[in-house]
Amino acid sequence: MKRILAATAATLMAASLTACGGDDGGGSDGRTTVVFSYWGSDARQQLTETAISKFEEKNPTIDVEGDFSDWDSYYEKLATKTAAGDAPDVMSIEIRGLAEYSGRGILADLAGKVDTAKLDQDVLKAGQVDGRQFAIPTGVNAFPMIVNKATVEKAGKKVPDDKAWTWDDYIALAQSITTETDGEVWGTEWNRNPAFLEIFARQRGEEFYKDGKIGLSEQTIKDWWALLQKISATKAGPDAAQMNETGTKVDQALLATNKSAFGSWWSNQLTALSKGSGQELDLLRMPKAPGAATGGMFLQPAMYYTLSAKSENAEAAQKFVDFLVNDPDAAAILLSDRGLPTNSEVVAAVKDKLSPADQKVLAFIESVRSELSTAAVPPKGAMEMEDVLIRATDSVLFDKASPDDAAKTFISEANSALSQ
């Protein structure tokens, strides 16, 4: 414990020391330094550094300093820096953290500061909190069903018509694939991603969040758990312990290792999945509840660019964000790494450079665009939601609680996280 204290304090002290070290911006030689924080893989870091060089080449008086960390420690680091008054000028944030950061006066209102005219206006709204544009989406994602057609066909089955298939069709098909291959390949992998539950709930006309609270009914949550239980009980997919192992790491996905025919992932993960699998993967609409009025799928910003309200180099920082979202040169480097760009001009310019997997994503999203709604920014406290959901879900899947109790626990824990 002492070490936690010490580490916290040391980080705080170190951070405030750097803050005292003072003004990195606006040196005497007329140069400005913009600090840009982001998370991700090594591949993303390389792309980002290349894009930064390109920007510096176009803007010789501005230096951009990339502040990179992996996802697991990203928010910890960002919060520590913010606490020390040393928030980066440009911060990457994802949708669950947006309300947290904008609500505490850390982010600048970007209205009129970054040119957003050519961005998808619907998606742009997902960067607004209380009507103010605190964040610019970097690109979009959908949460589709991904299928390995070759595996399905090898099991002697046909890929279904995704406009008509139901959850039962999906489970029955997956089950028969497991059986036909003697368990060598699972029909489907599955997950406890809130996005999955959200799609499931929207098909019943419910929203995940409503008026700053959980909008899901107990029945819907229980039915969703019953669906997951059915998948593992029928051997359509692995049991909970095994799915826990795969976790959320895309390189360990059963689709990426060709051990399953179906699975749901964010659309910008298709490239990584295809690379791991070496086979062709395709995107489908999610299955539907019978008679559902909507497929429930939605477009969500993969992440956002935001500006610190306290930035001393706001102008240069704005220029940098403008470059990232509007300049085809930037897009030609970053491609779909931060989700598919929503700037129509940019998309047209880089379309041919996209990987085959990304072209599939682009075609898929274009073809279903009219059916997709846009994600709303979840309330403050949403960052905890995934953990709360996983805990409640596991307690049901591992028989530690009855679905009735677990649904009640989930709603009360989730609402208490949101009210903090």
Partner: protein, 327 residues
């Protein structure tokens, strides 16, 4: 494994610690020898003390203050009095879960680990050839046990496709994902802890060397067998060392963090079955932005460990034998 470099440093000290059983005490007059020993002790303590003053003390006081606030890292701290402490014991089920999980972990793994360490020390003490080599080999897990690499390795060993299940498969038993099932996850961490028996083992070895050979010889003359010798000579004379190891390991294992952080993927799962106290503290502070609450938890932990250590010392009167009972 431990969160504290301080306890790790302390663990190296015991080489000088065991008092020679039966050795006569120096007289009442302090000899120059004992004065220079005291000076040496203070010198050895100095780096720790300087570190405490220069690095740890300020933040500790700050954290005490923060524990009475609603500090979130992202916004200003507001005084809330005892609210954080009250919440821990009245509203926060996960806090109690984390206490329970940590207690089970300490109560099960520490005695097992010490028994294991003592058993191996006894074997190694029989004048094995190549003793330094074996000693180093057995010590290795202690150095590695708390590392991220080992925690990841553990995930693999006890995974669905891991070594454990492969071996079980040979016997026709179909295994499961041990680290990802709530009923078994904590036990894999307990095994990991027992596996790091090296540090107490080395201390036990040093302790065994201090027991005068003459006692064993006398016992042999009286016709005592190995078991009797162990029970009547080794064990009683070793109690100070056992006590020392016990205190250290209880403190250390109560602060375990890395294993559950890595093995559970940072959330203490599945279903909070590996939610160590320090992990929950970390989640509260850095993930849920309740730094004031986390600071309060840190102080409660300090009190718990302090109380446990005090109880340990009190209990020691009844079973630790220092060989110089002149009190």
């Amino acid at each position: 494994m431990t969160l504290s470099p301080l306890t790790a440093r302390k663990a190296e000290a015991p080489v000088t610690l065991p008092e020679k059983a039966g050795a006569s005490r120096p007289g009442r007059r302090r000899s120059s020898h004992s004065r220079s020993q005291a000076r040496a002790a203070y010198l050895f303590l100095a780096p720790w003390f300087i570190g405490l003053l220069a690095i740890t003390l300020g933040p500790m006081i700050a954290s005490l203050y923060l524990s009475f606030t609603d500090y979130s890292m992202l916004s200003e701290a507001h005084w809330v009095g005892l609210d954080n402490y009250e919440k821990m014991f009245t509203e926060d089920d996960r806090f109690l879960t984390s206490l329970k999980v940590t207690t089970v972990y300490v109560v099960v793994s520490v005695p097992l680990q010490l028994a294991f360490a003592l058993a191996l020390a006894l074997v190694l003490d029989r004048g094995l050839r190549g003793l330094p080599f074996y000693r180093s080999v057995f010590y290795l897990p202690s150095l590695l046990g708390g590392s991220v690499a080992i925690s990841i390795l553990w995930r693999k060993i006890f995974g669905t496709d891991g070594i454990v299940n492969s071996v079980l498969g040979l016997f026709g038993y179909e295994g499961q994902g041990w680290v990802t099932s709530p009923d078994t996850a904590l036990w894999t961490l307990i095994i990991l802890h027992v596996w790091t028996f090296g540090a107490p083992m080395v201390i036990f070895l040093a302790g065994l060397r201090q027991i005068p050979q003459s006692l064993y010889e006398a016992a042999s003359v009286d016709g005592a067998g190995p078991l009797r010798k162990f029970r009547s000579i080794t064990l009683p004379l070793l109690t100070p060392i056992i006590f020392f190891n016990l205190v250290l390991e209880v403190i250390k294992s109560f602060q375990s963090f890395t294993q559950s952080f890595i093995v559970s993927g940072g959330n203490g799962g599945p279903v909070d079955s590996t939610l160590f106290y320090t992990l929950y503290l970390y989640i509260k502070g850095f993930k849920n932005y309740e730094m004031g609450y986390a600071a309060g938890m840190a102080w409660v932990l300090l009190l718990i460990i302090g109380a446990l250590t005090a109880v340990n010392f009190l209990m020691s009167r009844f079973w630790v034998f220092y060989g110089d009972d002149d009190k």
